[in-house]
Every structure is written in structure tokens, then in C-alpha cells.
Symmetry: C2
């Protein structure tokens, strides 16, 4: 499963994003240009070159355009943790979650990431939603680890490490001009290692 | 400096919250009862038994009622870190920040905390603001530690530990029926110790 899948358009003989992906790009661009509140579903559909009913086949409202990818990410992260062997440490389980979640992100996520960052910087409401995404993902990781028997404090700390590793790895991936899609997994796992080493230096 | 100070009302011979505190309690109660969006400054002032101009002597708008305490908390935390001797470890600096910030919270914070939790649970907008508060405080701690020469990964991790310790200590304090104001500092420092021990068990 990819967070944003593409289909191969034979008539154009190149990779072309599908309606869902075009809707996400259009929505994020409009949120950046004119603000989240002032953007309507009709405008998003028009910018993406689809009808409103196509929009509503993919999303229930404009808010869902922003959260749909996040819910998939959290779900993949939780599945990666749940599939880890019982004897694995909390950080090994977090690494498995990162592998599963990041393995599903493609080039389009890189492109949308930069746009989304600008939209979030421009809107306090979107900053709140973005913060809520981090808090929700940390809570998902914590719950998944507690379900495996980790003590709550350990699970909470591991949840924060997972989110930080994802943020640091994603930032490096989004900023590196020549990064390949598969580099995201490597960057986030390197960030997790770095954070584990940092935890030994906390004093 | 207290986050919510009280003045001694001699005519009533008991501790009585001042206008600012009554405005905060009234606002949080109204947000819970009827939602954040549907609450006006006029309603908050009326509930608190003050005029609208008194409201505007304390706050610029209803949003500021929620964030004013948070900004003071972040500022105190940063001052506590900045005043720590240069040789202190990142976690010792975080502990000093917790001591400074939590030492300023009184009984009224306990009472408002429970109300605020209900208001936040009832509103997605307030959940977003609450998440942003956590992210902002973590960023403040990180910046304060980087300014003291801590590597960025260490400082970010310490920032998350500081926020988690505050959340865990505050929850225990708010839930304990007979906790004294000064117990908050102890609870958050115990939570910080527990998280440091947990970091050794991450694997």
C-alpha cells in the first residue's frame, strides 16, 4: 500500500498522478495560496481538473484531504509494531513501524511535503492540526507498545522517539535534492539510532 | 510570579480569585458548555461578573485566555534552564526548568486544569491548540538547551522528556485529591527520573 499511489497512463507513456493525488496537490496549493478557511471543495476539484462528485468519491470534506494520509501512516506504523517478534525491544519495534510506514511513501509525498510545510506555516489552524498529528502518532506508537507489554513510561518515551525520528528523517529526505523514495526509510532509521545515542548523553 | 495569582481580600477574610482568574475560569467553563467558537468575550465577562473593558485590560481576545498561561510557563521553563550552571547535564537543566515553571502553579491551576481537560476533549479546535502547546514547549526547551551547547538530537529528546514529565506529573497532581500546590514540582521531577530510567530500557 502506498500513501499516494500512482497509476501508469499508457496513452501518455509516463507516470501520471491519479485523481486522488491531484486533489491532494490542488488542496495543499490552495490552502497555501488563499488559506484553509477560504478554500472550498469546488475550488479544489476545479484546480485538480475533476468534478465535485469525483472529490467526494475520494474524501468526505476538505479536512479529510489533510488527515487521510496521516491515518494511513499511523495504521502502517501500528501494524509494523504488532508484527515484530515478541522478544524485540521497544526501539526495535519502533524501527519496524518506521520501516512499514516510510516504505509506503513515494516521490509524490516528497513533493507534497514541501507544499504542505508552506501551507502549515501560513495558518495557525493548520499548525494546530499538524501538532495534533504528531501527538496522535506518538499516542498510536505508545498504545501499540503497551499492548506488547512495555511499561507506560517506556512506551511514551519510545513514541516520542519514533515521531522525532520520522520528523528528522523526513526533513532530511525532503531537503536532499537527489534522494530516492527508498532513502526515507534509511534516513529515519539513522535518526532513530542517533536519538538512542543521544538518550545515553542526557545525564 | 504565579501563573494565576490570587490576592487576599481582607473584607471577605478569605482567598478570593481576582478578575483575571475569574475570567479564565468563566472562559474555560463556557468553552466546555457551549463550545469555543460559540463563546463571546461579552459572555465570558458577564459570567465572571466584570465588564468587557475589564476583560480587555487582561486579554486581547478569547484565544489569549487559553495561551497566556502557556506563554508564562514556557518563559519560566526557559529561564530555569538558562540559570542552570554551565556544567549541568541536559536533564539537570530540564529539571531546573520544571522546578521554575511548576513552582509558579497554584491551587487554581489544579482546578482550572480539570475544567480545561473537559473543554479540550469536547473540541477539535482546542485539541489542536493543546497539541500545539506541547509542541511549542518542547521547542522552547530544545532551543534553550541548544543555546547551552547541547547537540540538537540530545536537545530535542530532552525537550520531549521535559514535556512528558510535565504531563505525567501534572496528571498525577490534578487527580490526587489531597495534593498540595508544592507537590507538583515533586511529581514532575519524579516523572523525569522515571523517564530517564525508561530511556535505559528502550533497547
Amino acid at each position: 500500500m502506498r500513501l499516494l499511489s500512482r497509476h501508469y497512463d499508457e496513452s501518455m507513456a509516463r507516470w501520471e498522478p491519479g485523481a486522488r493525488e491531484r486533489l491532494v496537490v490542488a488542496a495543499v496549493d490552495l490552502f497555501t495560496e488563499q488559506g484553509y478557511d477560504d478554500t472550498t471543495v469546488a475550488q479544489i476539484a476545479a484546480r485538480a481538473g475533476v468534478t465535485k462528485s469525483t472529490f467526494f468519491r475520494h474524501f468526505t470534506d476538505k479536512r479529510e484531504v489533510l488527515v487521510a494520509g496521516q491515518e494511513t501512516l499511523s495504521q502502517l506504523f501500528a501494524e509494523g509494531i504488532a508484527d515484530t517478534p515478541a522478544g524485540a525491544s521497544p526501539l526495535q519495534a519502533v524501527a519496524a513501524g518506521l520501516r512499514r510506514a516510510c516504505g509506503a511513501m513515494g516521490q509524490l509525498n516528497r513533493e507534497i511535503g514541501a507544499r504542505l510545510k508552506a501551507a502549515i506555516a501560513a495558518s495557525e489552524e493548520l499548525r494546530g492540526r499538524d501538532a495534533l498529528k504528531s501527538v496522535s502518532l506518538a499516542a498510536t506508537i505508545t498504545t501499540s507498545l503497551v499492548a506488547r507489554g512495555a511499561p507506560e513510561a517506556t512506551a511514551q518515551l519510545a513514541g516520542e522517539l519514533g515521531v522525532l525520528a520520522l520528523k528528522r528523517g523526513y526533513a532530511k529526505w525532503a531537503e536532499a535534492e537527489d534522494a530516492a523514495p527508498e532513502d526515507l526509510v534509511r534516513y529515519t532509521l539513522e535518526a532513530l539510532d542517533e536519538l538512542r545515542d543521544a538518550s545515553a548523553a542526557l545525564g
